[in-house]
Amino acid sequence: MNILIAGVGGQGTLLASRVLGNYAGLMGYDCKLSEVHGMAQRGGSVITYVKFGEKIHSPVIADGDSDVLLAFEELEALRWSHNVKKGGKLLMNTQKIMPLPVIIGASEYPENIIDTLKKGQFDFYGIDALGIAKACGNEKALNTVMIGYFAKVVGIDRDILKKALEMSVPAKFAEVNIKAFEAGYNA
């Protein structure tokens, strides 16, 4: 399975990929993840690739070969939507984070992203993960809300993924993360 995680630097996409990596380990799959460090983390567009299966070669997903796009932000969902396979799934946190060109008034934030994405050759799923994370008591847990939602939409074994989550977060944050995961799953 090829999962592309797209978001904005600082949104916690790396943790999401690590949870999926641990999940692959628990399932006994071969797995590769590819992250971007450095310049791109300063509020720029950030993508992480997760691939698992029998045997994985390239850690980067070939263009147009993603089974799932897990998008943490609307504009990033739009930007990477061409990467989703025909019949794949696009899961999006319905949050808008203004990029600098919009902040300074040099560009407009695209309108009707949801409508555009609904017309794509993939299945579209929207969720207010930020709102749900806030309700769980920590807006940083938006990434685990997305993971829970992913488990439900894609049909991933909930308990194994939950275990992978516990392996990926420090013990003191386990509780809020599990809560967020469940909330995402039940959304």
């Binding site: 791109a40 390239s58 902040i103």
Partner: protein, 573 residues
């Protein structure tokens, strides 16, 4: 134990398992984590060096004194370390010496896309290139053996994707390798002409021996499949080839220099057509052509940017790549509360010429600040300000500022400052001192008073240093006070002689004291002065700007640019 790990962790682990005891580096994406991980092993004495040249010299010294040592840097760091590199090639080693160099094809986080493999060739130093984390670990451990066996420093070449991708590795126990005795051997270690001339023959013999041995090394191997086309590749590209062209025969090169020429000749005989698929330049291709091997390469495969499975399929099979959606870009930005923003807002207002440098503050070049005119390499701001003054005259210097980060100043700005004083110039230097190496993830450096282990140490005093170098005008100012910054810059620009301004305020990401957020009230006249700061927390809405309380860190810079007193602490509004 099997675990997922990034390539850089695997390099660190490989060095650790090979008994390394000394590690030195200057940070640089995508190499930084190698040294961050190594520093966690108590058996290793690690350091952040002030720059890559010193880092390599530390590694050479450790090797001569009998220890296994690893030095890590990004591709452009190797330019800085090139001087010792070309001569340690002659001296060879005592303890194994591994240089991990990380290239950045695709320029994810760098100022250029140079191909470090040429350094292996021109310095005559062997280079191994792993394709995933397990190989990164294994090749690093092997590199220490080869270094000692062939009496040579040796490269591990990483690329961004191998350095920052996770794949499974199996860890082993550390092998303790006792530090060898220090032996005086002038003929080997004193490279003056008489000795160097002789050592030059050792270099030639060693590279020939290494090249012969490469043909049978297990890290160079053929995988036969369909024999219509045989692909020669190395490093991360091997993984792309396996996915893009699963039925092709492949020769995987582990020693990108020197190449296993005879083994590749043999492979060539067994396939109808030979194709080198390599990222960046046709480095392998050209060497094969010199050997008279008929081969395709850069006539098929692009030499610019990162390769990918899709690009290989496109180049070799003619398959289309899906077209990305054209939409608003999201460039990296200075963080909310970043002290660099306030300095650049003043510079922007004063309309100065700015010779820029490399670090987070390079982002001051982007709109809306547009405050940086040049960026070339670390330390270049000062040298270039000197050159610009020589070209344009002394008055030009009074409108021109060299803006340099604290880590960058220590790395390679000090010599430029000495040049300015020595040659009686008017050069104006501003250190944006955020007390960390921000860009690469907050490493300490000599100006922070902390070591890689977070132990206290002498904190380099820029004022004292500048005065000792003969800088006439030295002044420190708090970065977040815009009026003070403006006054100090104006004063210094008017003066004769070299000036050094130190604008001090810790990076907003390490300065955890959370101040109250600000918001905008009805006094706002929608003049957009705050928007022009380019702060991610201030969003330009048609009916007036708005502060996103989730992003605001309460730095108070926008308050100072608002002429109408419309920005106040959230509670008061």
């Amino acid at each position: 134990m099997k675990k997922l790990a990034i390539g850089n962790y695997a390099v660190a682990r490989g060095a650790y398992e090979a008994g390394v005891t000394v590690s030195s580096a200057y940070p640089g994406t995508p190499s930084t984590e190698i040294t961050e991980f190594i520093a966690k092993y108590k058996e290793v004495n690690a350091e952040w060096s002030p720059n890559e040249k010193v880092a390599l010299e530390v590694g050479i010294g450790a090797s001569v004194a009998g220890a296994r040592a690893i030095v890590a840097m990004k591709h452009v760091g190797l330019n800085v370390a090139a001087d010792p590199l070309f001569t340690v090639s002659y001296t060879g080693v005592n303890g194994g010496l591994v240089i991990a160099v990380a290239d950045d094809p695709g320029v994810h986080s760098s100022q250029n896309e140079q191909d470090s493999r040429y350094y292996a060739m021109s310095a005559k130093v062997p280079m191994l290139e792993p394709s995933d984390s397990q190989e990164a670990k294994d090749f690093t451990a092997l590199a220490f053996e080869l270094s000692e066996k062939y009496d040579t420093p040796i490269f591990i070449r990483m690329t961004t994707r191998v350095a920052h991708s996770q794949s499974y590795i199996t860890e082993c126990e550390r092998k303790e390798v006792p530090v060898k005795p220090y032996v005086k051997d002038a003929g080997k270690y004193v490279m003056m002409p008489g000795n160097a001339k002789k050592r030059r023959f050792n270099v030639e013999d060693r590279m020939n021996a290494f090249g012969r041995a490469a043909n049978t090394m297990a890290i160079n191997f053929a995988e036969y499949n369909d024999r219509e086309v045989g692909v020669v590749c190395s490093g991360g590209v091997y993984q792309y080839v396996k996915e893009a062209l699963p039925d092709y025969s492949v020769y995987k090169v582990g020693t990108v220099f020197p190449l296993p020429i005879d083994a590749i000749k043999e492979f060539a005989k067994n396939v109808k057509r030979l194709l080198v698929i390599e990222e960046l330049d046709g480095f392998i291709e050209k060497q094969l052509k010199v050997e008279g091997i008929k081969v395709d390469g850069k006539n098929v495969i692009p030499n610019i940017d990162e390769l990918s499975v899709s690009k290989i399929r496109k180049a070799v099979l003619g398959e289309d790549i899906p077209v990305p959606v054209q939409t608003v870009v999201r460039p990296p930005v200075l963080c909310p509360g970043c002290p660099h923003r306030s300095v650049f807002s003043v510079i922007s207002k004063l309309k100065l010429n700015v010779m820029g440098d490399i670090g987070c503050y390079t982002l001051g070049a982007l709109a809306p600040l547009n405050a940086v005119d040049t960026v070339v390499c670390m330390g270049a701001s000062i040298g270039m300000a000197i050159g610009a003054e020589k070209a344009q005259g002394r008055e030009f210097a009074k409108k021109t500022l060299a803006v340099i980060g604290d880590s960058t100043f220590v790395h390679s700005g000090i010599t430029g400052m000495i040049d300015a004083v020595y040659n009686n110039l008017n050069t104006k230097i501003l250190i944006v001192d955020n007390s960390t190496t921000g860009m690469t993830g907050h490493q300490p450096h000599p100006g922070t008073g902390r070591t890689i282990y977070d132990e206290p140490t002498y904190k380099l005093d820029y004022e004292v240093l500048a005065k000792a170098c003969g800088v006439k005008n030295v002044v420190t100012v708090g970065t977040m006070d815009l009026n003070a910054v403006e006054r100090v810059i104006k004063e210094q620009m008017a003066k004769d002689g070299v000036s050094l301004i130190i604008a001090k305020e810790p990076c907003a990401l390490i300065n955890k004291t959370k101040k109250p957020n600000y918001s905008i009230n009805e006094k706002c006249k929608n003049c957009k002065a705050c928007v022009k700061l380019g702060c991610p927390a201030i969003v330009n809405k048609k009916d007036g700007p708005f502060i996103d309380s989730a992003l605001c860190v309460g730095c108070g810079v926008c308050v100072q640019v608002c002429k109408f007193g419309a920005i106040c602490p959230e509670k008061e509004n």
